[in-house]
Symmetry: C2
């Protein structure tokens, strides 16, 4: 039987209908992907095997859609303790190479943050569990759900025997949560090959600022992650037999960590604000139109009071000012109970989110200088070592580009509203890497709602966001074809 090509609008209707009819299958597929404990953060051989399995499953899925798939070997990751672990391969895949169509490359990642039921999950983090239209599970929103939504959109055209309106490429990695190790090198190496035909790059790895209103993202903060180790000796001490005569490493470390930020959130490291872009009147105006209901935001985040009382101040401190967070301490007593130990060697962990035009290398120097200054003033007999273990630059895009226009139209079609034009406080290093290396337009098109809890206990994606998001990507393909 011969199928006549559908008109764009009737085709879109058919695609939407197809997606609605098959939504349970799409949720089932997400369930299968969430079931894989693809944690790239903890350096554990078993978890690396899960990661490898995850990448194989995704490659298989893409091949079954008709894509040509390349699994790029990423080598191994060496740890300070001498351990060597495999880095999961990066997927490079393509569907269609019609020179008359624009080529859109989708970036996603299939690794996840650590999650343990005991940390306060209400359901098993690796069993996707639906409650009131919410799909709970580690990676549901960050980033397995959005990757599958893109795949669902592509598959809908195929299932209806329709040509894709655009050429589609995929780059899918498995080390995003661990700082996208070795990915930059792949992008650089593939610049003249895989990426040579790419016109646009789309990333869907962040959240809206609202529960219901979609957003388009044109900037992300960078991140510089530090460890500061204070060591007396490798063994711990008993606080009865040594308490009172030692420079205790924990006392030194607490003083060092306490010197970083004041109780108003202001970072105390000298020079840290020097390169922060000045706030223009034009930029200031942009924050006013963002749809952020502070009362709802407080409710959905369960935070009674933020450091700032206005929407504009909150958004600016999430997007265009740096922040410093202390994550924890390795090597001290961290379990329930009352252990009377003096830890012999402790490692404090903190990170600074970077904004335009801060630079990770400059921040590294400032942090080291500051901590060495504080430590030397303590006159402690311990040894201190500061290390920047991750240094990821901030990113900002040109929002007047074609794909931002196409995405706005697709959002209007699917959601009946203008998107919020936002930045993201978190770090998606690949945006900056694509911008710098491929030198094509990069856009972030998030699907998840503000309360999805990525990186947190009880991470979820709403079934509505996941399914409408699949439609959004399909509509975006058609708008891109029109604009081309």
């Amino acid at each position: 039987m011969f199928l006549s090509p559908a008109t764009p609008s009737s085709l879109l209707e058919k695609v939407f209908q197809h997606i609605d009819l098959h939504q349970d299958e799409f949720v089932q597929m997400l369930k299968e992907w969430v079931a894989v404990e693809s944690d790239s953060v903890q350096p554990v051989p078993r978890l690396r095997q899960e990661l490898l399995k995850m990448m194989d499953m995704a490659a298989d899925k893409l091949q079954r859609l008709g894509a040509s798939v390349d699994l790029v070997d990423m080598g191994t990751q060496q740890f300070p303790d001498g351990q060597n672990l495999p880095i999961p391969p990066t997927i490079l895949a393509e569907l269609g190479n019609d020179p008359k169509k624009p080529t859109v490359c989708f970036y996603g990642h299939l690794d996840v943050q650590p999650a343990n039921k005991e940390d306060g999950w209400l359901s098993d983090p690796y069993t996707l569990t639906e409650v009131d239209g919410k799909l709970y599970g580690r990676g549901a929103t960050d980033n397995k759900g959005p990757v599958l939504a893109w795949i669902n959109a592509v598959s809908a055209f195929g299932a209806l025997d329709q040509d894709l309106p655009v050429n589609v490429k995929f780059i899918i990695e498995g080390m995003e949560e661990a700082g996208s190790i070795a990915l930059e090198e792949v992008v650089r190496r593939e610049k003249q090959r895989f990426f040579s035909s790419v016109d646009y790059i789309v990333i869907s790895d962040n959240l809206w600022v609202s529960r219901r209103k979609p957003a388009l993202t044109y900037g992300t903060r960078g991140n510089s992650y530090f460890t500061v180790e204070v060591k007396c000796r490798d063994q711990d001490f008993h606080s009865g037999t040594f308490g009172g005569i030692l420079n205790e490493p924990m006392a030194d470390l607490v003083a060092l960590l306490g010197s970083l930020v004041d109780s108003s959130g202001h970072i105390l490291i000298p020079g840290i604000y020097d390169r922060v872009a000045p706030l223009t009147e034009e930029e200031k105006q942009m924050y006013k139109s963002i749809d952020l209901d502070l009362r709802e935001y407080r409710n959905s985040t369960q935070v009674e009071k933020f450091l700032f009382d206005t929407k504009e101040e909150i958004l600016m401190h999430l997007w265009r000012y740096p922040s410093l967070s202390i994550h924890g301490i390795e090597g001290a007593f961290d379990e329930p109970g009352a252990k009377t130990v003096i830890p012999g060697r402790v490692i404090g962990k903190f990170s600074i989110r970077l904004v335009p035009h801060m630079n990770a290398s400059v921040v590294e120097k400032q942090v080291k200088w500051h901590l060495e200054d504080i430590f030397s003033k303590r006159n402690s007999s311990n040894q201190m070592a500061v290390s920047m273990v991750l240094g990821l630059q901030p990113w900002i895009a040109d929002i007047k580009d074609n794909q931002y226009l196409a995405a706005k139209r697709a959002i209007r079609t699917v959601f009946g509203t203008e998107p919020d034009m936002i930045r993201d406080g978190s770090t998606i290093p690949i945006a900056k890497i694509f911008q710098d290396i491929i030198q094509k337009s990069v856009m972030m098109l998030p699907l998840g709602a503000v309360d999805d809890g990525e990186h947190s206990q009880n991470e979820k994606i709403n079934r509505w966001n996941y399914i409408e998001g699949s439609k959004l990507f399909a509509a975006f393909f058609l708008e891109m074809a029109k604009l081309h």
Copy 2:
């Protein structure tokens, strides 16, 4: 065959010979006891079962020596999370009730601190491993080894068909490392029964200050253990999506912990030194005769530099001045790797070692007042809760008592030297409890060397200390009989 009673000195020779000949059996018995993971600190059902097993093994051993043994039910321990765990029974045992002999009661404990191979143990902590005359294993010196040394001494007389020179009682508990929960009540209840005939109480739960020279201990510090919880919400946050707009609990906690002690070890809590006993000239002189080779002490402890440079200052800061140690943080990121989390709720843990005439209740008020003051000055929107989870008073004894004289003589006989007259910086709460309730002389007669590493990785007892310690207890029995 009729055995004539041996004279004390020839009997002592026989006992020493017996102990030397059977030392491998004694080490084997210690190995069996160390193999039981009787950790009372971590509130885990499996570990409580191990504790119950440990107490049963000890009761069985004492019964086979001919002792009458009573296993006192201690009820259950309730945790803040609602969990209920059994408290292991306390052993009350007795051998002999000759009214012409003095009655010496030995106190020991069979529970241990937590230990994991991964924390830096060179051998499995629950497999007693002998290397160069050192017996490595959790509990080897604290306190399974010394308990068995006392049992070895008792068994030697029995094996030689000789009457014990003294009546011996045992009180052996399984919750010392968790603060001797409910033991005080047992001592109080048994004051008129089990303890009514007790003349002296001996504890062997601390260390010498030297590797080779024995010691007698006449005082211990107390301990007040605090938790300070800072909470924004129960869930964690992602530092990208929330960093910059929160009063982060870790920043508050680090500031609170940083306000407790300065880099010279001086505690900054107002009023904390008010009740510390003034240093008399007589006491000052006592520290001069203690055999502490600072160079050897630095080597054996692997600490390059202490807060003080003289023997006297070091001993005074371990024994007669309070100290504050920060143990760690529960609820923050404590694993290897770089997790970008803002912990939502964190619990800091620290303790203050108390000295005469400090009082735990007074210290509790001072700490709470101080932390509330610091916290209110931060103007944080988080909630803070301070709790003293253990409050153990310091203890000091009269060193002119008979049993101190007997112990000095026994030490001269076995080791050919005068003991160091020392205090202990750590807390053995039962000493103070016995002194207050039973109102009999309490003595601490340690067997372990200064480098035994109790509470630490690679805890050990030297084979020499264990075996000569068994002889010391036997010699002590005979000296007590002579003095009576």
